[in-house]
Symmetry: C2
Subunit: 150 residues, 2 copies
DNA sequence: CTGCTAGGGTTCCCTCAAGGAACTCAAGGA
DNA sequence: TCCTTGAGTTCCTTGAGGGAACCCTAGCAG
């Protein structure tokens, strides 16, 4: 956990980091996304400490990213993405895109994504929600918004 | 710093986290993106420990995300985004989108982005690099790729 | 040529989170 | 009755983050 509290900064990046910025959280989200939903599965797949896994799962549930639901008469639970959590997966897909491009090396990408709409192996691109054209770091001006601290 | 080393995992998310997953790194990147480039500026703006700022900047430079360049005859340096670093800003823009939607509250988004292409205040949307249609968590199948560990 | 200032770091100590292993608890099943 | 399994909890050790003080270099003022 970052010792400095990011949640109160007037910055959506900092606030988002407060939710999934801790070590392991994005990887937990990834595993849940691809269908791993139980404590033991996650712990074994990630090799994460059980203590930290408990903390992260609680944190993600508290923030409405995951939902904890019983799946048996015994006290057994599984974790599934909420709609809010599914939207966070966008972030993971962009990470995958960057990592595939810059860090995959000779071996190529570890995982491929097939887009339902076109049936092709593809990757994500960022576009403007308004005009649909590409929208990257140098394509925008940054302006103060209504929630700015100043 | 996450104590477990993510860099060797066969996962582009884990590898990307190895580059910018440590506390503060995304916020440093944000500041550099919006034009803050010097050690003292970054330290003052973020309130980060000087020790940690030094470590993070070195790490980002080592990974080719930032470039350290002298800007005076005196030993003064500034940090600027490399092309690789600019592409990482995509990640920040998606964070902003999610944070604005789910965490901004009453006050509204702290910062707005005006898209050069259309001139409008907008936000990013994820689309398929192949067909251009929206591409989110539930719009893809995940398949093993050439660099998969199995 | 001496001292002052400013940027850009180091060094040091303290605390608290991550790692890891052992322990607990509830509900079936043999 | 004991065993097993999933899902945690407890406890100890180590090392990263926070914070403050210190250092080093090069210009510049007197």
């Amino acid at each position: 956990m970052q010792r400095t509290d990011f949640s109160k900064m007037a910055c959506s990046i900092a606030r988002t980091l407060d939710v999934i910025g801790e070590p392991w959280s994005p990887l937990i989200l990834r595993d849940v996304w691809v269908g791993m939903s139980r404590f033991e599965q996650l712990q074994a797949d990630l090799g994460i400490s059980r203590k930290v896994l408990t903390e992260r799962l609680n944190h993600l549930v508290d923030h409405g990213v995951l939902e904890r639901r019983p799946y048996d008469n015994r006290p057994r639970y599984e974790y599934v993405l909420t709609p809010k959590g599914s939207e966070l997966v966008d972030l993971l897909m962009v990470m995958v895109g960057w990592g595939d491009k810059h860090l995959a090396g000779e071996a190529g990408p570890p995982v491929l994504y097939r887009h339902h709409a076109c049936g092709e192996i593809s990757s994500v691109e960022l576009s403007c929600a308004n005009c649909g054209k590409p929208m990257h770091a140098n394509d925008v001006d940054v302006l103060a918004g209504p929630g700015s601290a100043v």
